[in-house]
């Protein structure tokens, strides 16, 4: 079912996040099982909220099938190499660290963490900038009408999907670096 319909919102790509959150809180209060609603209704609502809240999921829900094939924005593709390289560097570091046999051996490896972390931080910033750039197209798409810019929307959607995935991967990698430096979690 259409997530915008579930939330009772107009189908627009440009969404004010603050207003969306407030809207969800209001609906959630009514639909939540703790307040007499049904679990199924709340789950539907939560799912719709998750889709609409994420720019990547939101535009993907709108372009549908067209999203899966076609080109990706050049500026996003350009970062593919740097993301892969940074992730590879973290993987390599974790592998080496896992087989280190001595405290000092591990500590010498840990001395590389600040540089690794810096490269991840820089990437997150770049990805964030790119994401904002792509989201800036949303009002334009709304205004022109989605049918008129199907191809462009598909491209933006694919770009955002990549960006969202990479951001999650980088956050996960950052968490692993912290864990290595501070001591593991069970």
């Amino acid at each position: 079912m259409d997530p915008f319909l579930i939330l009772g919102l107009p189908e627009r790509l440009a969404v004010d996040t603050g207003q969306l959150e407030e809207h969800f809180r209001r609906l959630g209060k009514e639909a939540h099982p703790d307040r007499g609603g049904s679990a199924a209704d709340f789950e539907r609502l939560r799912f719709a909220y998750e889709v609409v809240k994420s720019p990547a999921k939101r535009i993907r829900a709108m372009v549908g099938e067209a999203e899966s094939r076609g080109s990706v924005p050049g500026e996003v593709m350009d970062l593919f190499g740097s993301v892969a390289e940074a992730m590879e560097a973290v993987e390599q570091f974790l592998k080496e660290r896992a087989v280190a046999r001595s405290g000092l051996g591990r500590a010498v490896l840990d001395a590389k963490i600040p540089a690794l972390r810096k490269s991840l931080e820089d990437l997150i910033e770049k990805l964030g900038d790119l994401e904002s750039g792509l989201i800036d197209w949303f009002p334009f798409f709304d205004e022109k009408g989605w049918d008129a810019c199907e191809a462009e929307m598909g491209e933006v959607a694919r770009g955002l999907v990549f960006l969202e995935k990479w951001q999650a991967q980088i956050r996960e990698a950052t968490g692993k670096l912290f864990e290595a430096l501070l001591g593991g979690m069970s």
Binding site: D34, E43, F47, S102, A107, D110, L181
Partner: protein
């Protein structure tokens, strides 16, 4: 208070590792109920007599050191034998575990049920009527098995458990109830006797939304007592393994006393009659806790990352749990979040108050509040290659569900085995195995039979599984059976056969090779470490490193494994402080770049 005028009373219970409490909402405010000793806190201690008599709380605790008293049962509930450290009075029961008592073996659920029965009767005495429903809190980081076992304990005590509530969330409720018109982002740092949780929440317009949670279910004040005690035993020339169960209890309670003293004094004396005494400074205490504090910080950092909240965006950092009284822990928290922690909540009572508020929400007496909690661990299934395929990522708002379609891989395959996991590791085997089930297929050609499976996590954070046959549209509830027994036995068998294999190898050659590998790692590491932090070492430390290094270099030329092993151990010890310096340097540069 008159029970007749209320249609339904639900109590809120904090079932803690060291102490428990019960509360209820009265005219809109949460209050805790005092037991017959006049205390709002009941020790989570249970004693069983030979003829089946049971004592709970302060009465049971009084027998400690004389008789066997079960404490900290929370650290065992819902766990498998393999998961817990070997300890006195815990016996294997298939994959699970039982506790020994004078009245025979008891499951952790049964023991917990005794504590809950006691709290139920406290509430019944105070409120003057029968109580049949409760909200029970658990650490946010409890997995499905621990949550389900806690719920079973409630049922054994004659309580319908209407909600399993996460402890930090409960603490946030008790903080936020008086601040419903404010909007804020808060961190709840909850360090109890046996468990640690950290949650990031957003509170707005009466909605308490958990953004992320992280934790460690085997980290708490008990570990600090133990660290202090093991240190003292070592210093006093006692071997921990030589002490019997009763002596250990005495030593550990002295460890706890010293910890309490160190919460306000600069120094404390660890004293054991007929053995000796030793003084423990704050600095020593800090060193003993450093690993634990590191693990805590790791959880805090991850919670912030997951919540996508910068510490600068936080309005308050709330601290609860008995261990938040330790000044060193507070200092650490202030450093991590860049903010002085808010200590206004009662560290031992806030969680029970929060449980009472959630009970009020469910009973309909607290109307303006809604709680949106999350699942702490990712839920997934094991794939072909032994990997974990995540279906519901951690920190998803509950209740929630996820569907997955399964199909038969070969002609006329009539079933498929599915293993359900919880955890964050890539390899299936590194995660907690929730259980498995056999998914039946209609007999048909390859790829023809299709069954959709729905994984649902309810508001208690507990999983249920539903299978829908696509062809017939028939739904079946699937029992996720714990296969812990088979897994455990298979694992043990494997371990045994492996150790037999190794036993036949040439021990000397193996020891030399191991030591050689370690030496080859250490020698270049020493060179690098000296260039980076060598100037921070004093002359005697430098000399110690140089001597150990020479020893290893010399032993590498020979073939005596004992000599090389000894040299490597020597170098390992000599470089400990360099390793610490390197790690501290890296931490500073990652977490406070301006200070480096």
């Amino acid at each position: 208070m008159n029970m007749e005028t209320m249609n339904e009373v639900i109590v809120g219970i904090d079932l803690g590792t060291t102490q428990s409490a019960v509360g209820v909402v009265e005219s809109g405010f949460p209050i805790l109920l005092a037991n017959e000793e006049g205390s709002r806190l009941t020790p989570s201690a249970v004693w069983y007599g030979k003829s089946g008599e049971v004592e709970v709380g302060a009465l049971a605790l009084r027998r400690q050191g004389v008789d066997h008293v079960i404490t900290s049962v929370k650290s065992l509930i819902g766990r498998r034998f393999d998961e817990v450290d070997e300890s006195e009075g815990v016996v294997r029961n298939g994959g699970g575990l039982l506790l020994e008592s004078a009245a025979g073996t008891k499951s952790p659920e049964e023991v917990s049920a005794e504590i809950l029965k006691k709290l139920k009767s406290v509430a019944e005495t105070q409120l003057g009527g029968e109580i049949s429903k409760a909200v029970i809190t658990v650490p946010a980081y409890f997995h499905d098995g621990q949550r389900a076992a806690t719920k079973r304990a409630g049922e054994m005590a004659g309580l319908e458990v209407v909600r399993i509530l996460s402890e930090p969330t409960a603490a946030a409720l008790s903080y936020g109830l008086e601040r419903l018109d404010e909007s804020s982002k808060v961190v709840v740092f909850d360090l109890g006797g046996g468990t640690f949780d950290v949650s990031v929440l957003e509170m707005r317009e009466g909605v308490f939304e958990v953004l992320a949670t992280a934790g460690d279910t085997s980290l708490g004040g008990d570990d600090f007592d133990e660290a202090l005690t093991l240190f003292a035993a070592d210093q006093l020339g006692m071997k921990w393994s030589d002490l019997d169960a009763m002596a250990r209890v005495t030593w550990l309670s002295e460890g706890r006393r010293v910890k309490h003293v160190l919460s306000s004094a600069e120094e404390a004396t660890f004293r054991v009659p007929f053995v000796g005494e030793i003084s423990v400074s704050q600095d020593r205490f800090r060193k003993l806790l450093s690993d634990h504090l590191g693990r805590m910080e790791s959880c805090c950092r991850r919670a912030l990352l997951d919540a996508q909240v910068e510490s600068g965006d936080l309005d308050s950092v709330l601290m609860v749990g008995g261990s938040s009284r330790i000044p060193m822990v507070r200092k650490k928290v202030a450093a991590i979040f860049g903010k002085e922690p808010d200590m206004t909540l009662h560290p031992d009572e806030a969680i029970a108050r929060g449980a009472a508020i959630q009970a009020g929400i469910l009973a309909g007496t607290v109307r303006e509040v809604l709680l949106l909690d999350v699942t702490p661990l990712s839920l997934g299934i094991e794939t072909m290659g032994g990997l974990m395929n995540i279906l519901i990522p951690r920190n998803t708002t509950i209740p929630c569900k996820a569907g997955e379609m399964f199909t038969n891989a070969v002609d006329f395959q009539c079933s498929m085995k599915i293993q359900v996991l919880q955890g964050e590791r890539e390899l299936a085997k590194d995660n907690w195995e929730l259980g498995g089930f056999e998914l039946p297929f209609e007999a048909s050609g390859r790829g023809q039979a299709r069954v959709g499976v729905e994984f649902r996590i309810d508001a208690d954070g507990i999983l249920s599984v539903l299978a829908r046959d696509v062809a017939t549209g028939k739904d079946t509830v699937i029992e996720v059976g714990s296969s812990a027994v088979d897994v455990t036995e298979a694992k043990v068998e494997r371990m045994v056969s492996q150790s037999v294999e190794f036993a036949f190898e040439d021990m000397n050659a193996r020891v030399f090779e191991e030591a050689r590998l370690k030496a080859n790692e250490l020698l270049p590491a020493v060179k690098m470490a000296l260039s980076q932090v060598g100037d921070l070492l004093d002359r005697s430390e430098l000399q110690e490193v140089a001597e150990a290094r020479a020893k290893v270099e010399k032993a590498l030329l020979g073939n005596q494994s004992a000599l090389l092993k000894e040299g490597v151990e020597c170098l390992d010890r000599a470089t400990e402080s360099m390793a610490t310096l390197l790690i501290e340097k890296a931490s500073r540069s990652v977490f406070s770049p301006q200070g480096d």
